[in-house]
Symmetry: C3
Subunit: 263 residues, 3 copies
């Protein structure tokens, strides 16, 4: 049984320092999501310091949204630094289906043993070698279509796989669950998926069970979306209310509202 | 007769994928503007993939706000990719009057045949070889002062020229119109001009008549500003309401509210 | 006696053009803070133009939050350009304690004579050669612990030192003051510290007394935070209200509300 509220309270008590290497669109949003949730963000991408900082932080998150060759170098150094120091790290393979440039970067990153891989269905299908129907940064495939690929990739890589969409699917290759929290306005605000990746870094920092931590993080994030959506006047207002709802979410509400179903 | 509402509905029905290479300040805002309006943004700037992605997207927008040599390479590759695939693309020559570095980049980009060039009066005057009174990223010249330069540049380059300010001026070299929608708080929020460039990419994607599409995009954007400004408590609140107003704007309201006057 | 309202009105009357080289997380926020306060931001970082632009703008601000080697080059060129033209410039040594890479960059920047250095206590202690307890981008030391280091660094460098926290400490090496304005939600919104650095650039532009200008800027910023915090529903809502409060703050309210105490 996954207790989202207990995981949230544990994360907040730790207030983990999360090293983020993410895309230009998402940096501000990811930092505000981490602060609202009670964690501490730091964006560091210079090759001169990324490896050592990843080893010193509580978790690393790597997002390839605006990938370039210099940033790829920092991502690889940081992932190696986290791995070497036994720190958990999360990979977000944004639009990996877009180019060999992205596919190659993700292959090299996955070889460095991410603790978690979070993507939409088209991204997970592409990581597993499938074709998929993604376009731009958007999924063209339903979450269910990527469940098998996620289980296989979890077994191969040792990572927890999170396939996100209207109902998320999470698996560590042995166990699996669906998380049904969320709101239709969430994909209407840019970078909320990328910021979720950053938040999952906070949840898996010092976590005993990354599978449970990821499922709890997905539920808490979706719950904040549900609260924000209750009275939002549109996507601009929603984005503001979302941060407020995430900051206001407490353990009891998270436990009561989480819709995590083993499957 | 330009029907802004019909153009808005056509754009929304297409939900075009807009490839944006824009500045660091504007990326998040531009993505949210495109999402609010009903289009799909993707920010891609690596030389390894920018050309192929521009050829695959529905439109490209290039904004030189935080120009650097590596990004200039991506801009040129993307513009060439869009041109080669017959995709429309929009140039935003931010602060081109600031340096030879910017003037040279814009000259090379204009040689790749943009579908639309959008700038403030000082930027358009500078593109046409004039001196102007721009400073920083701000126009120091009234829109009217750049009307002649815009017509000449439209004829030379084949692009639709949009000179934006309190009343916008748009021309394809044969036809011209003024668009009188907007609100005084718009220039008090950073990146709204840059995000307009991104939105014009969505309007000209698959458009039969880029001149009409640009005029309609300018009118819809200004109308969202008018709605947002009705009750805004300040520039922060305005930015939130602006996205909500853009998302809520429908075809009938756009047609009724657009103030587009041929001239 | 420092009159925060007179300084605010002087700055607004000048509407200074502030050249910002800041981190990716803070760019949008810094630009919006400058616009809300009545100044004009411009983000320019290419080595091809950074030096000349810094010499032409009214002030320069340099923030090393997402430092990299190419940006370091631009920062050094811009600082040299500002110095050569007699323009004031502000240094924000974000997380300087994190790596030799940052320590070295700050040493080279300080050799170019910043007008103001603003940081948290752990950053100022690190600049002065101390150990401190900073982690990520956060201070681990109280403001008071860095007061001696700030006075010494002000005397050595000729800069005004601003150590920010719940109560700020500002000194030019001869005079010192505490500024007690602010709100607990301010550190819960990312980039507000970095945006303060940008705003201090506006306050010291064309200022006769940089010490008084910095103290006034700190007070005005904290006052906007106090106003925003009165009714904020959370950190998202606070960020919106903060910009509105900064835009609405007038000279009389700033003079009446500033809590600047010589010490």
């Amino acid at each position: 049984m996954i207790d989202a509220g207990r995981q949230l309270e544990r994360m907040r008590a730790d207030a983990p320092l999360v090293h983020c290497i993410t895309n230009y669109v998402a940096m501000n949003t990811a930092a505000n999501v981490l602060l609202a949730a009670g964690a501490s963000p730091a964006m560091v991408h210079a090759p001169e310091e990324a490896g050592a900082f990843a080893a010193a932080a509580d978790a690393l998150t790597v997002n390839i949204g605006t990938l370039s060759a210099p940033w790829r170098e920092a991502m690889l150094l940081a992932a190696a630094g986290a791995r070497g120091a036994g720190r958990p790290w999360v990979l977000d393979p944004v639009a990996v289906f877009l180019s060999d440039f992205r596919r190659d970067a993700c292959a090299r990153l996955i070889a460095l043993g991410p603790t978690v891989i979070r993507g939409n269905a088209s991204e997970i299908l592409a990581l597993a070698g499938g074709a998929g129907a993604g376009r731009g940064a958007d999924a063209g495939d339903p979450v269910e279509a990527a469940a098998g690929a996620a289980v296989a990739l979890a077994r191969d890589s040792g990572a927890v796989l999170a396939v996100t969409g209207p109902v998320d699917f999470v698996t560590d290759g042995r166990r699996a669950a669906r998380v049904a929290n969320g709101h239709p306005l969430m994909p209407r605000v840019t970078a909320l998926g990328c910021a979720l990746t950053a938040l999952l870094g906070a949840f898996v920092a010092r976590a005993e069970d990354p599978f449970a931590a990821v499922a709890a993080g997905l539920a808490c994030y979706g719950l904040a979306g549900e609260r924000a959506g209750e009275a939002a006047a549109g996507p601009g207002d929603f984005a503001v209310r979302f941060l407020d709802a995430l900051a206001a979410l407490d353990g009891a509400a998270a436990t009561a509202g989480a819709r995590v179903t083993p499957c």
